[in-house]
Amino acid sequence: MTGEALLSVSDLRLQHRQAGILLDGVSLTVKRGQILGVVGESGSGKSLTGLSVLGLQPQGQLSGTLRFDGEDLTRFSSRDWRRFRGRRAAMIFQDPMTAFLPVRRIGPQIVEQIRVHTALSHQAARERVVSLLGRMGVPSPEQTAQRFPHELSGGLRQRAMIAMALSCDPELLIADEPTTALDVTVQTQILTLLKEIGAREASVMLITHDMGVVAQSCTDVAVLYAGVVIETGPVAEVLQAPLHPYTKALLRAIPPMTGSRPERLPVIDGVPPSPDTRPVGCVFAPRCPQVTPDCAIRPPMRGEGAHRAACVLVP
């Protein structure tokens, strides 16, 4: 099964009436058994890309293609979407505290999702919830299912969230900054869990701002900048030999944990373009140290094999 494209997004664009152009050509592919890291700074459109896959993006003009296992998502009716969400692709969010309904117990919230999508009886669904929670590494799952979200620690809440997402055996799990609200020691636990899920249960699309997280838990990566995917490829290759100047600069800006301490951290001058004033050519050109006259035209993805970047410097 591995290797076959599960989700392919190509040239996805989203224009919002007030906010302007939010996505401006997002192309990426999630293959079965893959953990794709979607990485970018705030405002780069990484969360929107995740939401668009479930049809939850804010109102606006959406164009491009979204294919999931051969089906065209852009043609989905609201009924199709309801059957798709949570059943075939599920999503977990940054803050598990607010993502759960605060006034209902954890168990019934997961049961609800199971019963929306399957014909399982209430009792069977409940048993399934307990076994799911156990599989996610939640200690004493039966008691935990009876708890309210605020009674759990951040790590347990996120595990419960993942259990809910996996409750209907989806083929794709979209994780939107799943560890940002958590402590570092707990972050490692959740990343380990996601890695296991990616290897065994579902393909994962891990949306994050942290290159370190991508490096440790993803197989592939797509780098987003200002609503455009500027580089994709296997994690090892992209991190070892980044092609795009933005990816290079981003990696350099991370303070090192070993070796000598640099006098100054390398920085990227300037700020990302706002959604209403966007450059016509390469979106990174205004900040790029290696800008050439060719950058005035938006470069397509170039490169050999799986590792490709949208930059004129790539042979």
Partner: protein
């Protein structure tokens, strides 16, 4: 358990505060002497002095307060100043069922109306139907309730009484449930609807805003991502999340009405409820009667507050984890 005890203590404290407040308003307002009022305008100083002695107004205030509380709550034999020998406490208890019936009917209308209008407004946000509902709610909120009562009387009792629409309307007044359940309902439907109009306006607006806020909530985004359908989304998620603030508002208003807030409606529709009783007391300056009704009102408000608080804790598990602010 400790929480319940402290809650009870607070209730007693509030009730005590209210009784002192009401007592002070009637007997210790600076510059206003109750004996002058009872003796009437232009009474001679001797008469005023006699009144003062007869009613015990020459005794110190705390003593008078204690005596009145004793008559009200312990011996329960407080008698009217105007109609001597009439027991005020039993009068209040006789009037209570009328008010209770009226307010229950009104609550029925206003909860139903607010739900319908609020949900319509939120579901069709920004469309013409939402604007229409908002305008109607605003108008409902702006009508003085006693005037609306007059107009309803005018239409249903006089101008269109003979039409098919209002021919069933009985003459003004109250019919006890035990006498005739149908007559009871007939007598109360129009007053209750009149009373409910302003509340429908208020609550549908509150509910609409809360629903729209809830729909923006992260938890609702999760629900959509789960594949929950629109009906479940509105009723099981949004309403569950947003109904809480409307609920606490409801408890307070319900209790206020029960405690005599429906006075104007009772006067206009000639219903002999607690509000009407207070009105009588006011027009004859029957201070013990007013004292009794106001305290009865406050009692209901305090009890209802406590009940709503408990219900809130039950429905929102986040409450009740200590007094941690935030």
């Amino acid at each position: 358990m400790k929480g319940v005890a402290s809650r009870l203590g607070q209730m007693v404290l509030v009730l005590f505060g209210i009784s002192v407040l009401v007592f002070a308003v009637f007997f210790a307002t600076p510059g206003s002497d109750p004996s002058v009022r009872i003796a009437g305008r232009g009474a001679s100083p001797e008469v005023i002095e006699r009144v003062r002695h007869a009613y015990g107004f020459d005794r110190p205030l705390p003593m008078r307060y204690l005596t009145m509380m004793d008559h009200l709550f312990i011996s329960r034999n407080l008698t009217s100043y105007v109609n001597h020998g009439q027991n005020v406490v039993s009068e209040v208890f006789a009037a209570a069922p009328v008010t209770l019936s009226l307010v229950l009917w009104a609550a029925l209308f206003w909860v139903a109306g607010a739900l319908v209008f609020g949900l319509i407004g939120a579901a069709f946000q920004g469309e013409w139907i939402d604007r229409l509902v908002s305008l109607l709610a605003l108008i409902g909120l702006s009508i003085p309730v006693f005037w609306l009562g007059e107009m309803v009387n005018l239409v249903s009792e006089s101008r269109f009484h003979d039409s098919w629409l209002f021919s069933w309307v009985p003459p003004l007044g109250y019919v006890p449930f035990m006498t005739s359940p149908l007559g009871w309902a007939k007598a109360l439907i129009l007053p209750a609807m009149t009373l409910a109009v302003a509340f429908i306006g208020l609550y549908s607006r509150v509910l609409r805003t809360d629903l729209l806020t809830a729909m923006q909530d992260d938890a609702l985004r999760t629900a959509r991502a789960k594949g929950v359908g629109p009906w479940r989304l509105w009723f099981c998620h949004a309403l569950r999340l947003s109904g809480l603030s409307a609920l606490s508002l409801f408890g307070l208003d319900f209790a206020q009405l029960l405690g005599g807030g429906a006075l104007l409606i009772e006067v206009v529709f000639a219903l002999p409820g607690v509000g009407h009783l207070t009105y009588q007391g006011l027009s004859t300056l029957d201070l013990p009667l007013i004292m009794a009704t106001v305290l009865y009102a406050a009692f209901f408000v305090v009890i209802a507050n406590a009940l709503i608080d408990g219900l809130y804790r039950l429905l929102d598990p986040r409450m009740g984890r200590g007094s941690h602010d935030g």
